[in-house]
Symmetry: C2
Subunit: 336 residues, 2 copies
């Protein structure tokens, strides 16, 4: 990675952090400082920048906006809103999936209890809409209205994707088409929104907005497939997630659906019984013998290439295009 991008990324991450801190302080004064503590904890705002989560979404918004001619500081309210949406969904996902650990720490609901955790998630969801209000300082009401529509349309896709994800965990026959529809909502929608927001704030025309969106959409699909790879072959110390976790939790992830598609034996063993760590390792070995770990990487690479094609056609400042290319390729490098 060229050093100047490294520096720029660190500057952006720092600015997002500071913006979030000031914003959160402004909404939670006494006697609500515990809500502020929950926000800080979950968003990792007291942690060093490297441990705060990737902040891939707000980073994409800031770089896309800059590419479309909007100075970084003007796009910060939208970037913050998107990061808050992502993080509210994680707080609630952990409750829904019974997930104890998030980014190597106890999940919010484990630390503060289910009731306060759920409500803090609601507060964070709403905080995203509050943050959007900050756009008005530098943009017309028309632009703010469009940003609101983009965010609420996105969250509609997000909750529908989450609905499918939970439903599929209880269904035997989940097709690759089902999977695709689910991740379009669950993951891809918010990443697409992050990039499209840049074009929206930069007042690019409809076709350009669609191109920005498509770049984000393909990147989001690659991102989810990479995440699915991590859910079986990832290293716990690096990801903060338990390896083989998706097998134990019977997730309908990409490699698992591939395994079900290819091998009846895998399908029977996966669907017909409870899965402990020992049988999860056995199932993982079966996937490897079918070459599915390699297939997942290929699929991820395929979507990444598609994303890059859209990126090349985007009306975007050259420096920011290179920056977006770097972010995209970094994702792919990590799968190798």
């Amino acid at each position: 990675m060229p050093e100047r991008f490294d520096e720029l990324q660190n500057k952006y991450l720092f600015d997002i952090q500071e913006y979030l801190k000031i914003f959160i302080h402004s909404i939670f004064t006494n006697p609500y400082t515990e809500l502020r503590d929950i926000f800080y904890y979950h968003l990792g705002l007291d942690d060093p920048l490297q441990k705060q989560g990737k902040r891939i979404r707000p980073l994409l918004t800031l770089v896309s906006a800059a590419g479309a001619g909007v100075p970084e500081n003007k796009a910060l309210p939208a970037a913050a809103a998107i990061e808050l949406i992502h993080n509210f969904s994680l707080i609630h996902d952990d409750i829904e999936d019974n997930g104890d650990v998030r980014r190597g720490k106890p999940a919010v609901w484990k630390k503060w209890g289910l009731a306060q955790g759920l409500n803090a998630g609601d507060a964070m969801f709403n905080a995203a809409f509050l943050a959007l209000g900050g756009l008005r300082t530098n943009f017309s009401a028309e632009i703010q209205t469009e940003a609101l529509n983009l965010i609420s349309e996105t969250c509609n896709l997000l909750t529908k994707g989450q609905y499918l994800d939970m439903r599929f965990e209880k269904e035997a026959d989940v097709s690759m088409a089902d999977y695709h529809q689910m991740i379009l909502g669950k993951t891809s929608a918010l990443i697409a929104c992050s990039v499209e927001m840049g074009a929206l704030l930069g007042k690019l025309d409809k076709d350009q907005r669609a191109l920005y969106r498509k770049f984000g959409e393909k990147l989001g699909i690659a991102f989810q497939i990479y995440d699915d790879w991590l859910g079986i072959w990832g290293e716990e110390e690096k990801t903060g997630k338990s390896a083989i976790g998706d097998l134990v939790e019977k997730k309908r992830s990409f490699p698992i659906l591939k395994g079900i598609e290819i091998s009846k034996d895998f399908k029977d063993q996966f669907l017909n019984r409870g899965i402990d760590i020992k049988s999860a390792i056995k199932l993982r070995n079966m996937l490897e013998k079918m070459g599915i770990d390699k297939k997942v990487k290929d699929e991820c690479a395929k979507w990444t290439r598609e994303a890059l094609i859209h990126l090349r056609n985007m009306e975007c400042k050259e420096n920011e295009r290179k920056f977006l290319e770097m972010i995209t390729n970094n994702l792919l490098i990590r799968v190798k």
Copy 2:
């Protein structure tokens, strides 16, 4: 109640129902019809009008807007948004309070499970912001932006009020000032928002908006105190809530805090042990001996009178002012 208001109220309730139905159908097509079912079930959209909940908030929005010169049909998106906010908060409250029954039916999370229930609540919260987008057809982007700010500021108060409510359940010393702050957020904020929204859409000036808001705020306080009365002396068949429930659940409601304030004996018995139905009835008798049932009614009447003073000063069409007065007084009649 004059017959014409009765008719008008039924027309408004019918229009809110039809608007919600069309809106919900537009966002949940196949394969998301189960989410549509959850929305219909919780909002009672298949029930007769009388069993759908009071719809006091959207009714207040439509009447306030009409009073400020806005035709009912133009205000419907905002009224729908406010009803969706109220109902999302009930779906999540039931999870947080472990409440099994809502309006005489199993709560959403009991019927669809905690995970899908939680997510459906998120989808309903977001649907409110989606619905707000519908204002743009008849209003400027500036007005829509202001409506978004009002709703998100309100939900900020709402989640903070809910935070306090849950915290107070675990604290021994909750003062009347604490109680007041809690209900300002938990109940009064959304009712105040419902009324203020009318003034906002009618483009009334800042002072008038503040008056509309104050009317709603006082009405909201009266409303919550009435609800607290129901939580101890209400009839289960009429309210759909279990009578004496607030004692069993150790809520910090108005009558209970009054009891704690006045009698050390009540305080000790309430705070120092688990409360079953038998001891709840005993505690209720203690409250009655102290005349607290009467005190609660007086308090409710006091806030209602204050609300009516603001109503009189509001710049509002006379017919709608009378309608709002009727809605306010109906609340008080029900406490007698």
